[in-house]
Symmetry: C2
């Protein structure tokens, strides 16, 4: 019997930074909740024996034949507890992260097209920086990247990626394309969880993608799921995952089901301590981080961030602001390139605004890294002049 | 703490078939070795705690940054023990099964092409039935399916997929294209393991793909790996997996590393009982199955299979025949469609020869399913007239 060692990189908390060390906040590696899962470690432990989970197949009665039934049930239960999405009479399709499912959705929405041209895929700027590369990597004749949704004015069919709350800026979004042409939407709800934003309603759209990575922080598991209305779309998405990777790791599925189950048990079992419930903990941590961030930025002569409106959260039954997974920083007008400034002056690695279809005066920094990284960021931001 | 339940489908041994039950041997679901892993269950058990394996990142010093170091080490150790491939001074790239890596290889070999046309991808018939669909699914402008490698006569760059031993027919293969144009090869060594074929040499090619599914039978883990000579190709393959799924399940990687470690320990530790070593067991089982199959087919008036040559296996130090993962059956000349015949007369579901670019007089049946399925197949084949 072997116990998995901690292979998290960068390492767990306890790091001491010298002023010359680069703080890498370019990616959104979600290690912020690691301490919580250390506390819940035993309850969430999975044990997998040598002979288990060997088959390609999981459930031949389900459209998504490679999905373990307990994973699908865990996902439905989680949305029921949180109230952030409709799952009744919907199909669940599991993917190797939401990234694979985004591509599965593009395939599903474009593969029957009779159009001679690839379908235009758009997203409103600032958009998720990886969309253009993910869409263009194989130079498909089915679809291609067509830029900022707000500028779309072609009278041709399109697919709009709607990320809400948005990555990088945390804004709540709906579709923005104004074209008369036939349009379809793929919703990316990676951040529609109580720790990032108030849960104002049960989302209910044709294709809604979620990811385990940003919900609980288990990015290494590469688990995402889509909630899909139309069975034909669910079949095509399943077909894409079949052709792309013949299914999704069962080890990851079973572990995600276990961890989601522990979260839901906390809310549904009598006698749980509120402070031990996942979304109470995760929201508190994110709120604390944002209070510190906003305080530092308020006093800054160099940086600004947009204000978030307050909304009533039906999950926590209180009004609150958003606590986005990223800090979408704007540098002072005199600074041309915010990312270069951050690196040169603060030794902080960020992702530049131009990657998101925005001005280089903006930069995105992860707010979901380790505590040590975050505290060091605060220190450096407050020292900037 | 939860113990993963057996979600294998179709279920473990003990099934009783009635003559009207359909035996589904259309896919190659590798449950043949399940009994071995039940015996080795405890030694191969992995325990993963709630807070472990959370990061996207694994090893920032490796080209394949999302690969757990222990997985890469396990793969190198396995090839050292078996002697079937060179890994010294080679890069290992882990994928969500060999399927994702095949597509990663196509991307790596075609993305820098200056040619106005997509690169032609070919494979000698009978070829792996999924190649055309995997290659064509997104209708890429980088590459497209160009059919039987043996018929390729264009003076244009090409990529040849070389599957050896071949799926469906178990034949040992090399490249067959005779064109003068620039050609690159992607080797699929899914079945180059001692239980399927004698290990005659250490394979050493630019890109060699292997899969955990067909080596140990753990298909549900979706783990494959590529051995790559050129670091630039390894970087591009890693880039594809990044864009496609931001890495590979760490749960699967750690479990594969553990199971491979147990196999290697058996060979490298003094005092192991030979009958308990994985490849001794797996080869014996496959040999027994093939002896029974060949005996039944020898007496059949309807079916034939090709003879395999005997070769010296450097791993087992004995001469032996191949024991392919599939039975590539030819029906009598009077039968037009072997697959329809198998279904109508024997209630056996097979995959038709035309799917492999061959005649419908051929059909492929899995030889790596459960023991019950296999025994029922033997019974039905021997009753055919």
């Amino acid at each position: 019997m072997v116990v998995a060692t901690n292979n998290s990189f960068p390492g767990s908390n306890g790091t001491i930074f010298s002023p010359n060390d680069i703080i890498d906040l370019e990616r959104g590696d979600p290690l912020v909740f690691e301490a919580y899962w250390k506390k819940m470690s035993e309850a969430c432990t999975v044990v997998i024996k040598g002979w288990e989970l060997m088959s390609y197949l999981s459930d031949d009665k389900n459209v998504c034949w490679y999905m373990l039934p307990e994973f699908g049930e865990a996902v439905r239960r989680l949305h029921h507890v949180v109230g952030n999405a409709v799952t009744q009479e919907r199909h669940i399709v599991v993917g190797t992260g939401a990234t694979q499912l985004f591509q599965a959705a593009l395939y599903a929405l474009s593969s029957d097209s009779q159009a001679p041209q690839p379908i235009n895929v758009v997203a409103a700027a600032p958009y998720y920086s990886e969309y253009p590369s993910e869409i263009e990597i194989l130079r498909s004749k089915l679809y291609h990247w067509a830029g900022d949704a707000a500028l779309y004015d072609k009278n041709e069919p399109y697919i709009e990626a709607v990320t809400s709350p948005n990555n990088p800026d945390g804004v709540i979004r709906g579709p923005v394309v104004k074209s008369e042409a036939e349009g379809k939407q793929v919703y990316d709800f990676a951040y529609y969880w109580p720790h990032y934003t108030p849960i104002t309603h049960k989302a209910d759209h044709d294709i809604m993608n979620f990811t385990f990575s940003k919900c609980t922080g288990h990015a290494g598991s590469r688990i995402g799921w889509a909630i899909v209305k139309d069975i034909e779309i669910a079949k095509k998405m399943t077909r894409y995952v079949h052709m792309n990777s013949i299914g999704v790791s069962k080890e990851s599925q079973i572990r995600a089901a276990k961890i989601i189950g522990v979260i839901c048990d906390g809310y549904q079992n009598f006698g749980s301590m509120e402070s031990e419930l996942f979304f109470e903990y995760s929201k508190r941590i994110m709120r604390e981080r944002w209070e510190k961030l906003l305080k530092v930025i308020e006093q800054s002569k160099v940086f600004t961030v947009a204000k978030f409106p307050t909304s009533y959260c039906k999950f926590t039954n209180e009004s609150s602001e958003s606590n986005p997974g990223f800090l979408w920083l704007k540098c002072d007008e005199s600074i041309e390139d915010c990312t270069s400034y951050l690196m040169a002056k603060l030794k902080v690695r960020a992702r530049g605004g131009q990657r998101f279809g925005a001005s280089p005066k903006y930069a995105r920094l992860s707010a979901i890294g380790t505590e040590d990284e975050f505290n060091e960021l605060l220190k450096r931001l407050s020292n900037a002049d």
